[in-house]
């Protein structure tokens, strides 16, 4: 009886939450439509940017499989650059966290670099890496590495000193200390950094794919402009939002599972 009652309370609370979320999205769609009507006064072509044609086109793009290659290309870039950022960021974060002198020496430089939009490096990246995927990976990494470094270092500083002493009292080697105590102990912080990094990468991905690559969602947006395929343009923008939301949900659930 009481279990049923709690179940009902749970359901109704979640239904209420869901209702609010849907209402918010509905308001967004209405504003979108209102904006298009306004724009149509001056620009008749704008009707193609409206919600209904955009959603119709989105379904078409997905069901025909036309967009899937670009989605795959974009997700591959996310994965590669996230892996590179983790590979670079975790060791640096460990050094910053453990080694006070290294922290003092680098904190100014890191804050300085962190505040430069990674997109500013674009011309230099192309000079160094040429045209193709490599400069995209580089630029995405430049955005993603900072949250990973900072969160890894914060994780190290918050490690329970008792855990380290315990391992020390059992004569743990440096490697055993790292693999058996430090890394599992800071995994939660690393996941927090990873989630922030994914958000950063996803935001940077679209502009980065507008330079010199011939696939991906950013490329698709430029392509729709050239083809005057405006309903596809809006469809891809919606898709970018949906995919970003899903990626973040994935990162969040990973983080929650650990915590």
């Amino acid at each position: 009886m009481s279990k049923l009652a709690t179940g009902t309370v749970w359901l109704s609370r979640h239904a209420y939450q869901l209702g609010l979320t849907l209402a918010g999205l509905l308001v967004l769609v209405v504003l979108w439509q209102l904006g298009i009507w306004q724009l149509q006064q001056k620009l008749p072509l704008a009707r193609l940017l409206a919600p209904v044609p955009a959603l119709e086109t989105l379904i078409e793009l997905v069901t025909s499989g036309e967009i899937l290659g670009d989605v795959a290309a974009s997700l591959r870039r996310v994965l590669v650059s996230l892996s590179l950022a983790l590979l670079a960021g975790i060791p640096v974060g460990l050094a910053v966290g453990f080694w006070r002198r290294f922290d003092s020496a680098t904190s100014g430089a890191f804050q300085f670099l962190r505040m430069i939009s990674p997109l500013s490096w674009m011309p230099i990246a192309i000079m160094i890496f040429g045209i193709g995927d490599q400069p995209v990976y580089f630029l995405l990494c430049m955005g993603a590495v900072w949250p990973i470094i900072l969160n890894t270092a914060a994780g190290v500083r918050n490690l329970d000193p008792g855990w380290l002493m315990l391992a020390q009292s059992m004569s743990a080697s440096r490697l055993e200390m790292l693999l058996r105590v430090v890394l599992p102990g800071i995994l939660g912080s690393i996941l927090t950094g990873t989630r922030l990094a994914i958000g950063m990468i996803w935001v940077l991905l679209v502009p980065c794919e507008m330079l010199g690559v011939t696939s991906g969602l950013g490329y698709f947006i430029l392509d729709t402009r050239d083809r005057l395929a405006y309903s596809e343009l809006m469809a891809v923008i919606v898709l970018i939002g949906i995919l970003g939301y899903l990626l973040d949900s994935l990162a969040r659930s990973l983080q929650r599972r650990w915590a």
């Binding site: 329970d160 008792g162 002493m165 009292s169 059992m170 004569s171 743990a172 055993e176 102990g185 995994l187």
Partner: protein, 275 residues
């Protein structure tokens, strides 16, 4: 106060002329413990008693090989110790369980470290299971630390030490965070397992009753800088009654000895009103 004569073979742990000090802000060194020597025989339970600030915890870290003394040396089986010895286990005031490992994995932690004696997998599992059974937690062997009460967590920490089959167990106020009932349960459990395995124990405590209940010998540290003031050997058979006349007498002696050496340190005065 007489020290039993013993052959050097049964000596497991020796500390000779230990000096502990630290560097002060003005560059001078402040001594916290001077000229401390002791000998621990196999299976003997030793309590080190003293007010806070006298260097008890630092002393235990030195005995564990976690820290080098400024002067003096530590020997296990007459061999000089410069790093943690595999036959020594250390138990802290905080159980220090790793939250990402379940009870079993916490007890097994460290057994497979390179510096530890080699054990094959089945041997290791057996030791872990035995240790968990000894602290009576077999039913909870898959539980995670967040699911354990304070007393249970401390039992897991004890099992983790036991799984290493130590000859010497070093305890740094291991039960002071537990409530009265659980504490006395843990004290009994400790006595049981140490007698069964003939494990020597060096236990730091600031609780006179705990020392008198458990120890074969009680060493009292005090004064500034700290030094070994005196030693007692409670002879009563266990379980001991803290309210017995002999115990009360010994407690009084301990307090008087401390008072005699009392320096006007605020730290110590806050400790004294337990009279």
């Amino acid at each position: 106060m007489s020290i039993k004569t013993s052959t050097s073979e049964s000596l497991v742990l020796q500390a000779d002329n230990i000096l502990l000090d630290y560097l002060q802000n003005d560059g001078s060194r402040k001594q916290i413990l001077t000229d401390f020597s002791m000998q621990v025989r196999a299976g003997e339970i030793l309590a080190v008693l003293g007010p806070s600030g006298v260097g008890k915890s630092s002393l235990l870290r030195v005995l564990a090989g976690l820290k080098q003394p400024s002067c003096g040396q530590i020997r296990v089986h007459n061999k000089l110790v410069t790093s943690p010895h595999p036959r020594l286990a250390f138990m802290f005031q905080d159980p220090c369980l790793l939250p990402w490992l379940n009870l079993e994995a916490n007890v097994a932690f460290g057994l497979d470290f390179r510096s530890q004696p080699k054990l094959d997998r089945s041997e290791r599992r057996q030791r872990v299971q035995d240790a968990i059974a000894e602290v009576r937690l077999s039913e909870a062997h898959r539980a995670f630390p967040r699911e354990l009460s304070g007393g249970m967590a401390q039992r897991v920490a004890l099992a983790r030490s036991l799984a290493r089959r130590p000859e010497i167990l070093l305890l740094d106020e291991p039960f002071s965070a537990l409530d009265e009932v659980i504490r006395s349960e843990m004290q009994q459990l400790l006595l049981e397992v140490c007698h069964r395995h003939h494990t020597a124990v060096v236990m730091i405590t600031h609780d006179i009753d705990e020392a008198l209940l458990l120890a074969d010998r009680v060493l009292l540290l005090g004064g500034t800088p700290g030094k070994l003031l005196r030693e007692w050997q409670p002879q009563q058979p266990r379980p001991r009654n803290p309210a017995s006349e002999a115990m009360a007498l010994m407690r009084l002696e301990i307090l008087q000895t401390l008072q005699g050496a009392l320096a006007p340190e605020p730290d110590m005065q806050s400790w004294m009103p337990t009279i």
